[in-house]
């Protein structure tokens, strides 16, 4: 992309114009492309949010959100995911400075926190199904399981991706394409936490306070 930007602070003779500088470095192109994919993924989540918002009152005589949601579990899940986003950021810093031990440590803590989040969420789903609040019980529950389940599926795939990336760091070291992939992973992981902020607010907190 060659958007002409105003770079007033830098003398014009010092920099070639954006069109003369040639194509952007691969790192920027890869990350920008992945950023656009992530935005499309968030649009998909927006459609699921819209469906949930429209169906939240359709409980068909079954249990409502206020009756089902446990705020303690949700709080622990939120803290886990938030801190895993933080450790993912620290892992990115370690990758940029090419430090192996810190990268593996950051990845391990990120994975552990994400796994705890996933475990809690699966336990919540199973307990809801056990008392009869299954996805087929009501439209509200179908929308709930679809939205929150889709987010959980993304988290699962993210954990698989993280594992594969650590294997690639072990095999290839901090090669350029490994760094690009790790950059894409951290974008993905932060975006998942952003979506979770939405899920927490719209589904759990608004459900509990209505």
């Amino acid at each position: 992309m060659n958007i002409a930007v105003a770079i007033d602070q830098i003398p014009q003779e010092a920099l070639p114009s954006a069109s003369e500088a040639g194509p952007a470095p691969k790192r920027i192109v890869v990350a920008y492309g992945f950023w656009i994919f992530l935005l499309s993924d968030i649009i998909m989540f927006a459609a699921l949010f819209a469906s949930y918002a429209v169906l939240v009152r359709s409980t068909a005589g079954g249990p409502t959100g206020a009756q089902l949601f446990n705020q303690t579990t949700v709080a622990i899940e939120t803290v886990c995911l938030l801190f895993s986003s933080y450790t993912c950021g620290l892992m990115s810093l370690a990758v940029n400075s090419r430090r192996y031990f810190r990268t593996y440590l950051g990845a391990l803590i990120t994975f552990a926190l994400g796994a705890i989040f996933l475990g809690l969420e699966i336990r919540e789903f199973l307990s809801m199904i056990a008392i009869g609040a299954a996805p087929q019980r009501s439209a509200f529950l179908s929308a709930f399981f679809t939205l929150v389940g889709c987010h959980g599926l993304h988290v699962t795939l993210g954990l698989v991706w993280l594992t594969v990336m650590m294997v690639q760091v072990a095999v290839f070291g901090f090669a350029a394409r490994v760094q690009h992939r790790l950059l894409c992973f951290s974008l993905f992981w932060h975006a998942l936490d952003i979506v979770w902020v939405g899920v927490l607010t719209v589904v759990y907190l608004m459900g509990v306070s209505s």
Binding site: P25, A50, Y86, L183, H190, V197, L200, V208, S209
Partner: protein, 131 residues
């Protein structure tokens, strides 16, 4: 690589010219985490408090959620208003526009349809079945 930095990848480290005056990257992440934890705690308090009327709770939760998303974008994803972030900000703005249209549009359309289905004066079929 010493090519001119016209662009920055989303989520990437800040540009070199800013390194001298900007806080260290570790501090940026830590501040972001701290503020996010604060916003999360405030959200939980807002949802459970008796001090606000229900509309205020809804509004407060929405504002806190948007604020926390902004904190994530700025502190974890390094989305800034600088010239190297322009492409990323434009893409994000467009994404936000589509998200808004999808959610608001769906809620408006379905609410409108819902109203049309429950008012007897606008449903000739229900009147036809009343005898």
């Amino acid at each position: 690589m010493t090519e001119a930095q016209h662009e920055r990848a989303p989520g990437d480290r800040p540009s070199r010219e800013m390194d001298a005056s900007a806080p260290s990257e570790f501090l940026v992440y830590t501040i972001g985490l701290f503020v996010a934890v604060l916003l999360t705690a405030t959200s939980f308090w807002t949802a459970n408090t008796m001090l606000l009327w229900p509309g205020g709770v809804f509004l407060g939760l929405a504002v806190l959620a948007i604020a926390q998303m902004g904190i994530h974008l700025v502190f974890f994803l390094h989305i800034s208003s600088g010239p190297e972030s322009t492409n990323n900000v434009l893409a994000l703005a467009f994404g936000a526009l589509v998200v808004f249209v999808v959610i608001a549009g769906t809620m408006w359309i379905v609410a409108d349809m819902n109203t049309n289905m429950t008012m007897p004066s606008s449903a000739p079929m229900s009147m036809g079945m009343q005898h």
